[in-house]
Amino acid sequence: MTVRTPHPDAAERFIEQLRRKLRHARRTDRDDYIAQIADHIRESRADDDANDPGTLDALLIRIGEPSVLAKAFYAAERVKLNEAQRVLLWVRRWWIGLVLAAVLVAGVSFLVWASTYQPLSLRSSGEYSDSVVALSGKAPMKLTQGNLQPAAWKLTEGHYRLSILFPVDNLNSLAVNIAPPQIVQGFPLPESWHLESNDSEKQGPFKSVLVKGQTYREIVFSTSYVCKAWPTGNPNASSFSSQTITNIPIVMSFWGFQHTLEVSIQPFTLEIAGDCFGE
């Protein structure tokens, strides 16, 4: 419903301001309310016989500020809105939307940061000459001479222990966890580990270990295998399986976010002439 008044500027400005204040309201309800206010202006003007701008201003003051009317309108609307509509109405306010958007951006940024946080400097010691030892049975046979790389070890029959020294440097201030790595595919996770620098901290079986901020830890992963030679006549007796280890997958976790860090090590090869299994 359109209402014309003798002073269209002030009245129409008022209606336009009210319309802006009610822009988030349901259209039919808003139009109905605005039509009522326009009718009220018209009726008041007829009643007061007030056609001069001063009286119109007084009338608009009596009707109330558009913001006051909008507040009353929304208060009445809320009574019949369901919860979802109320939330929507609330969210539609621009500043709340802005705050929510800022929170969302901050949250996403944090998630991206946390999911990519990796403060560890990882390096291997490279000393593997002593890392394969026989606990019993036949000694491991070193197939390579001197420092020829990759070092190759042949395991025949016995109880062997493979140990890898693993230094971990946390360069940043937040602590992270590292989980036991699968050193050799097909074999179990390390059965024990200890801090190289302090034997009293020997622990086992392996559990994830906390590397605090700006600390350095040397960790030795150890795992042992029992190997049995193939019995005479076994078709596999003359064959052996070979596996070259070039890196270790270290699983690091930070606030529930996990990264698998492939850490290059000085490669070595295990040649297994028998049937080996984790102890």
């Binding site: 419903m1 309800d29 109905d32 309310y33 009522q36 206010i37 009718d39 009220h40 018209r42 009726e43 008041s44 007829a46 009643d47 009596r62 009707i63 109330g64 500020e65 006051v68 009317l69 009353a72 309108f73 208060a75 009445a76 609307e77 009574v79 019949k80």
Partner: protein, 115 residues
Amino acid sequence: MVTANTGKLLAQMRRGSIEYCVLALLESRDRYGFEITKVLTEADGLVTSEGTIYPLLTRLRNDGLVDTYWMESTEGPPRRYYRITKKGSQALIPFREQWTRFRDSVDDILTRGNE
């Protein structure tokens, strides 16, 4: 909360009673929006912003306490008339009783305060 601000004081006193004033006005006869607003505005302190009566009327209609109909006017466009419903009349009965008791109690206490 006790406040010395007259505007706030009136707003607090108006809240909860003005709906019933509208219903009481409609008991005698049906009225259109401007007419209701005019009567309430003339009653001292009942309405500060005339435009806020319309959302109140809408709420009463949504609550089924009043209903509306359009009637041609000789002075301009058709007018929307408000009519009290049976539910509205029933809602007014306990308010009248309680309001009288409440008013008398407050009057009594205020009078005692002057003794």
